[in-house]
Structures are given as C-alpha cells and as structure tokens.
C-alpha cells in the first residue's frame, strides 16, 4: 500500500530477492541545521529514513533483527559535510538511481543524496579529510591569512594541545596530523583549506585548528560580537594514504 505523496516509491516487499545481500554506498550532504546533530543522532535518523524510503535492507537473523548500516568518518558537531558516506546492506533488487530517488524524497534539502554506487574502497582506507573553513575576525584578512599559514607550516613550532580520548586527556603535538593548511584572504574573510588526519586510528577535529589560531594569533576572540566574529567548517572529501580520493570519484 502506498500512501499519498510517495509517488516514486515501490514497496520493498514487491522487489525481487537477491541471492545474497550486497553493500551499496550512499554519499550525502549534512549541511545547515544538520551540523548541530551528533553522529548518534544521524545514525538513528538514518535507520528511520531507510524504513520510510522502503529501502530493502538486509536484516540480521535471530532474536532481535536489525539492519546493517555503517558510516564513514563521523562529522563533528558544528561542521557541515558535502561528501558524507554510509554503506548499506540490501537484499532485494533495486538500482542505485532508485535508491537515490527514494531516499531524497524522504530527506530535507539539507541532507540530500548525491551518489549511490557499489563501493570498491573501504572506509578503513581513509587517511585524510579535507576541510574548507571560513573565518570572519577583526584585523586585516591578508595579515591573518599569512600568520595562519605560518603557524601550520610543516616546519613550524610544535602545537601542543590537550586531546580528549577514551583513555583520558593527552598532550599531543597536532602538527604531524596536519597534511596541509592553506589560508587566503577573500571578500574580507579568511578562507582556509585544510587536510587533516581522518579515520578510525587517528582523527584531528578541525576545531583544534580554530583553537590554535585563537591561542597563538588571538583571532576569533571569544568575547567578540557574533556579527563580526564567526567561522564555519565544511568537510569536502577524503583521501587515502597515497592521496587517492575515497568517495564520490573513486569506485
């Protein structure tokens, strides 16, 4: 039974069963208001999105059956993402285009699916994430950009920060976790492109860069008015250790 408004949706029960479940990768954005929701919230949301989009998920057998979904690298609260990824295990015939259309009908404009495909890479291949940061702060943007480039240069002084982990707080030098930082001034703002360690083994939250700029350069003062002082972070993609993109363009 289809309810009103679900024009493109074929019930999963009307689809043919596959011989064995397969994995598909869904690439989506998490922007705007969605930056305020945690990874846990995102997981719960997707469980429901998949049900209402009638995606033929494969369910584990046994007492408490559940579908299997695996996310790429969690996006920190306060960052937006253009190329977030989730792998789904499905067990009925459905095309990537159908998955995309059915999902997009059930998602808001801030979380639309851009690509669905059969993955040939694993999330464990991810080594680096690239972020686009926009900063508005008092002072000359050109001077500030130059100063930012300097403190994050490979040969700069170590940047020691307290990093939180499950085993307690640790003092670490974040510089080795930075692949590159490039800041430029544009329209009175500072635009930064930063490639940082990402993945399960080692991950650098881009907020550490903000904190370092604040501590070292005094930009983004915390008591500044919010009209004059703000920043945004957008994650735009991932690379493996060899510099090959993991995600949309690599399959």
């Amino acid at each position: 039974m289809l309810s009103q408004g679900k024009v493109n949706r074929i019930s999963k029960f009307d689809r043919e069963k596959l011989d064995a479940p397969i994995t598909v990768r869904v690439v989506f954005q998490k922007t705007g208001n969605l930056q305020y929701f945690s990874h846990l919230d995102l997981q719960r949301t997707w469980q429901r999105v998949l049900v209402r989009a009638s995606i033929p998920m494969w369910y584990t057998q046994g007492f408490n059956p559940h579908s299997k979904i695996t996310f790429g690298v969690p996006l920190p609260v306060g960052s937006e993402g253009m190329e977030e990824m989730v792998d789904l295990r499905i067990d009925r015939q459905i095309t990537p285009a159908e998955i995309k259309a059915q999902l997009n009908a059930e998602l808001t404009s801030e979380m639309q699916v851009s690509e669905v495909y059969i993955p040939t890479t694993a999330f464990s291949d991810i080594a680096w994430g690239t972020y686009q940061m926009t900063v508005k702060t008092p002072g000359d943007p050109i001077d500030n950009a130059a100063a930012i480039n300097k403190i994050f240069a490979p040969d700069a002084e170590p940047i020691i920060m307290t990093k939180r982990s499950k085993s307690g707080d640790k003092e670490v030098n974040i510089l080795p976790m930075i692949h590159s930082v490039k800041a430029v001034a544009a329209d009175g703002l500072i635009k930064i492109r930063a490639t940082l360690r990402a993945g399960n083994t080692e991950n650098l939250n881009p907020e550490y860069l903000i904190k370092a700029m604040r501590d070292r350069l005094g930009i983004l003062p915390e008591d500044g008015s919010t009209e004059e002082v703000w920043y945004r972070i957008l994650r735009i993609g991932f690379h493996d250790e060899k510099g090959v993109a993991v995600g949309k363009w690599f399959r």
């Binding site: 309810s3 705007g32 208001n33 969605l34 305020y36 429901r48 049900v51």
Partner: protein, 619 residues
C-alpha cells in the same frame, strides 16, 4: 539572527540540536502569504515537548489552513538562556527563526502545574509583558490550553484567553475570527477577546470575569463583565473522533526525545471513574475511534516516519471495545515491518494471555499495573474496582511467559487512609513475590523484582476528591518512611515521589487568581523547569509565599466546603458538581460505582454528545 550568528550561539551550548529546527516534517510557509502566525509553545525542554501528542495534533490542525502558519517553540535549557540574555537574543520559533514577539498568537499547552514558572520564563525570554493587562495591541495574544486549563485561575492574569477542552476545532476558529476581524478592520485586542468569548464555545477570557472573595478567603462569586458572554464557560469537545483531523505526518526530531514513536489515541475519556483522577472526569464523555481509523492513522504515520515503535494511547487501553480487532489489524502490517507495538495503561483485570502474546514487546521484561491502593477497603473508596485476585491472575500470566519484573503504582494519602491501608502496599508486593515462586512456569534460575512506586495524593479540580485536603508535608513524609519500614524483602524495591513537589502541585492545582503575585515573584527569581527535581526549590517557594502573603495550606491542606464556590466553578467540564458530590459521599461510605459500560451513573457529560460514546442519549 543570520546563519553565522546562529552557528556561534548554538555551538556554544549543550545539545544544540534542540534549537536548530530543520527537522523532516516541519511545516514551512511563506510568511508574507499568511494572515496569522501562531507560535505553539511547550513550556519545557524540546525533548519533552516534541513527545506530546496534543501538540502534534494542533500543529497539524492549524497548518491545514493555508493562511495560518503554526510554528513550534520550547523552553531553552539553562545554558542557552544564559547566552541569550548575554547576547540579548529573544525566544524564537524553530521553523522561521523569527522572534515569538512578532507572532499574532502565542499558545501554551499546560500539561502539568509545575510548568507554570516556565511559562512565565518563556514570556520573559520573548520580551512579552507577563500580565495580559500590560500587553499592547502589537503583542501576541497569549492562549493557554491543555489539562491544567480546567483550573486556569492561578495563571489567569498571564493569559489573554484559554481554550477549555479539546482544541482541534476551537483553536482554528479563534484564529479565523482574528483573521476575519483584521480583514474587516474591526479588530482591536479588546473587541476580539469579547467576540471570541461571546461566540466561540470553550473560550474563557479571564479579564472578562471579576471575582469577589469572602472574608474567610474563599471565592464569593464570578461575574462576567458583559451580559452577552456565558456565566460559566462550557468546555468544548470534538463530536466525532473519526472525522477529527489527525496528522498523517509528524515532525521527526533528530535528537532523542522522551517518546519518539508513533502514538495514536484510540479514544478519549475513561469508563472507570477513579475518584482521584482528573483525566478520567474531564475527558468525558467516553468516545472511541473506529479500529479502521486508528489502524489507518498508525499506518500513515509509520509510512511517513519510519518509526520502529508504535503505541496506542488511552486512559485505559484494555477498555477499548475493539481492542482485539484493532491489535490484530495493526500486527498484520507491523510485524513484517518490524515495528513493535506497546500498550500502556493496561488494567490488571483485563490483562489476558492473548493480549500479552500479541504485544509482548520482546525486549521488555517489565509489566506495569496501577492498583493505586494497597487494601481492598481503600481501593473501594477510590473506586478502583480492582480485586487482588485480578492482580494475581495478571502477574501470573506475565510470569507464565517468562517475565519476572513487575512494577506497581500506588498513591498515598487517599481520603480515609489509615496506616493499616498503607502497610498493605508492601504486603501486596510481598504476595506478588511469593506468587512468582509458586508459578510452575516461571523462568528457572531467575528471581522476581517487584517495584512499588508510591506518589502522594494531590486533590485535583473536577474530581470527586476535589474538596479533600492533602496530607501535610510532615504527614506525607511520615507515611513515606512508614511504607519503607514495612518492606521486608530485597526482591521488593520501593520508590516514592518528592512530597514537597506534590505539596506545591496541590497549591497550584486548587489555587485561585491570588497566586499570581507569587508566580510573578518566582519568575523574577529565575524559577523555571520545576518539573525537574534539580531545579525545584521548595524553600524558595515558602519564602515567596511568605513574601506575597499567601498561605499554601489554605489551598493544599484545607477541606474545601461542599457548597463553597470553587475557583474553577467558572468552568463547566461536562461532569456536574452534583455527581462529584454524590461520588464523594459514596467514597466516604466505602461504596463503589459501576463503570460506564455496566451502568451509567449520570455524571452529566452525555449532554455534550459525541459519536461512539457509551453514554445514554440526552432526551
């Protein structure tokens, strides 16, 4: 506030998802194309408010009108409030992000008395004057509704109007009247309030009634200031629940909320008539939805939400006449879709193996019943109409299928209660423990756990016990300790409520307009979120009462006179005062009253009409 400012604010507080908006299912309209904007406020956190079914329904009913845009707003958590004050940011609605003060209406749902200070807190955050009398023409009209509106008097001075009863039709009518008067050019705040009070059933405009008091502090009389408005305001019901608008799509929270699931009512009202229960009286007459309609509504919400859990809502679900038919049709699609069904509010006497097998939400090993009193004598006084055999049979059904945890709800402080009655609460729990060990089908190697949860009695308006005094705080606390001292088994766990909160609840529940200065002072002192124990400040309240010359015992611990004018007598909730008096007398005689299906006891609510009701038709 632009997106960049919003980001800086939200990333500086805990759980920013509460303030983000942008949920799937939210309704966005073009504000230049609508004629009235309605801010629907829930005076508690987002997590609590988003779970409320009434809000879901009324949000839908208002937004069905193309020229009305209803949005949501919740009480910001304390850390957010601090930032907002620091940065001079007012309270806004989630959908548009616009300040609440820009809206035409601000509607509060009053679900529990302990939210009153949060209501004032939200008005203050919105920069709207607390008292209706101080509001200018440009201020939103502040509306109150929900269960606490049955005695709106303690908060009457803060509201422009109240909705008494069910809002599905009344609330849109109010907004339509506003639009009409604006279109015609006849609108002024005063003219609108008068017209609403005059023409829309269920509308109570407190400023249009003057109150006089007797020398002993009781109410002398309510007098309407115009001849053409009702002397008492009769509540509103929707006549046919099947035909009443119900959302087929809900706003899906991204963050975890308290009750994040499909919830559909199967009916309103309750046939039972427990004498302490306000909901059981004020939602009369008992009306049901057809099983086909309930099934369809559940299915529609499932399809548009993807929820994995579904719950039927009712004051007593097993009294729904078609409960088997309904659960069968629900399970026919919920099982293959792996949606679990839960039935709250099951009565022990109608708890069957069949129902149990159907709803056994496998993960849940606890079964809950509410005997409300420990002894049969007292259960008769409160008209619970439940026998110990029923309870024992019910727990054995649960034990048969492997459950081992039982939760039992009780109240203390019922009229005529003695320590012998109280001692029966733990005794009953002990007997449930023995029943477990005597059950041959129990799961071997497991031990039972019986939790007894005891909350103090709070006399509520429009109940047969509305006149009864609440125990003093000392007595409530003595009884709590006494019950604890009677628990002799480590398989029995004993919980009890904060008696101080219940004392204040009684004051607010039975209060009158003279409480307004105290609430105002509480707001000035920053009181809010008082339903959260960590924010409840009893000593602070005593101090405020002393400062404002209010004796809380006058409202909580006094026996109200049977022929005294009650603060809520300005409202007619359907059930007559005569009936309540009769029921009060029967309670003191220890006599029970049959339920509405066995025999109508003439409560008077049938005069309201209603489809699929069990009441006799009025001649």
């Amino acid at each position: 506030m632009n997106q960049n400012q919003k980001r800086m604010l939200l990333t500086s507080v805990s759980r920013p998802g509460r303030y983000a908006g942008g949920e799937y299912g939210q309704i966005i309209k073009d504000k230049t194309q609508v004629k009235a904007r309605f801010a629907f406020a829930f005076p508690d956190s987002y997590e609590i408010g988003m779970s409320n079914l009434g809000v879901r329904i009324l949000y839908h009913c208002l937004n069905l009108h193309d020229d009305i845009w209803c949005e949501r707003t919740y009480a910001p958590w304390v850390d957010m409030q601090e930032k907002m004050r620091e940065q001079n940011v007012p309270l806004t609605c989630l959908e548009s992000g616009d300040p609440v003060s820009d809206f035409d209406f601000l509607g509060f749902t009053l679900q529990y008395e302990m939210c009153y200070t949060t209501v004032l807190n939200m008005l203050e955050l919105s920069k709207i004057p607390l008292r209706a009398a101080d509001r200018g023409e440009d201020c939103p009209l502040v509306i109150g509704g929900g269960p606490c509106a049955y005695n709106p008097e303690p908060v009457a001075d803060f509201f422009d109007l109240f909705n008494i009863g069910e809002g599905e039709e009344m609330l849109p009518e109010i907004v339509r009247l506003y639009i009409r008067m604006k279109d015609e050019g006849t609108y002024t705040r005063a003219a609108f309030l008068h017209e609403a009070a005059r023409t829309i059933q269920g509308v109570y405009v407190p400023s249009l009634y003057t109150i006089t008091y007797n020398a002993d502090g009781t109410v002398a009389a309510y007098t309407p200031v115009y001849d053409d408005i009702p002397k008492t305001v009769t509540k509103r019901i929707v006549k046919d629940l099947d035909k009443t608008p119900f959302p087929d799509k809900v706003v899906m929270p991204y963050i975890e909320t308290v009750q994040d699931r499909i919830t559909v009512e199967v009916g309103r009202g309750c046939i039972r008539g427990c004498r302490f229960c306000q909901a059981g009286m004020v939602y009369r007459p008992v009306r049901e939805k057809s099983p086909e309609v309930v099934d369809c509504q559940c299915r529609a919400i499932f399809e548009s939400s993807g929820y994995e859990e579904m719950s039927l809502s009712s004051l007593s679900i097993s009294d729904y006449t078609k409960v088997n038919e309904l659960t069968d049709s629900l399970l026919s699609w919920s099982n293959p879709n792996m949606v679990s069904l839960s039935l709250p509010s099951l009565r022990a006497d109608s708890f069957t193996r069949e129902l149990m097998d159907k709803v056994a939400s496998i993960r849940n090993s606890t079964i809950t019943f509410a005997p409300e009193a420990g002894s049969q004598r007292l259960r008769d006084v409160i008209n619970k109409n439940l026998y110990e055999e029923d309870l024992m049979r019910a727990v054995n059904v649960a034990f048969d299928v492997g459950k081992n945890q039982v939760k039992l709800y009780f109240m203390q402080g019922h009229p005529t209660e003695t320590d012998e009655d109280l001692a029966e609460i733990p005794e009953l729990a002990h007997r449930v423990v023995s029943a477990y060990y005597q059950n041959p089908n129990r799961r071997k190697g497991q031990h039972p756990q019986v939790t007894i949860s005891v909350s103090p009695f709070i006399p509520k308006p429009f109940t047969p016990f509305q006149w009864e005094p609440q125990d003093t705080l000392e007595e409530m606390e003595r009884k709590q300790a006494f019950v604890g001292s009677c628990v002799h088994d480590r398989r029995v766990k004993y919980n009890y409520h904060n008696a101080k909160t219940c004392h204040l609840e009684a004051v607010l529940a039975r209060g009158d307009r003279r409480l307004a200065p105290a609430l105002e002072e509480a707001c000035r002192r920053g009181f809010k979120f008082e339903a959260w124990s960590e924010f409840f400040d009893y000593e602070g309240w005593l101090d405020i009462f002393a400062a404002t010359g209010i004796d809380p015992a006058f409202y909580a611990n006094r026996r109200y006179g049977l022929d005294e004018v009650l603060p809520w007598d300005v409202i007619d909730c359907g059930v007559t005062k005569k009936f309540l008096q009769r029921e009060n007398a029967r309670a003191h005689e220890g006599n029970t009253t049959p339920n509405c299906r066995e025999n109508c006891s003439g409560c008077g609510a049938n005069k309201m009409g209603g489809e699929r009701a069990c009441c006799p038709k009025v001649k």
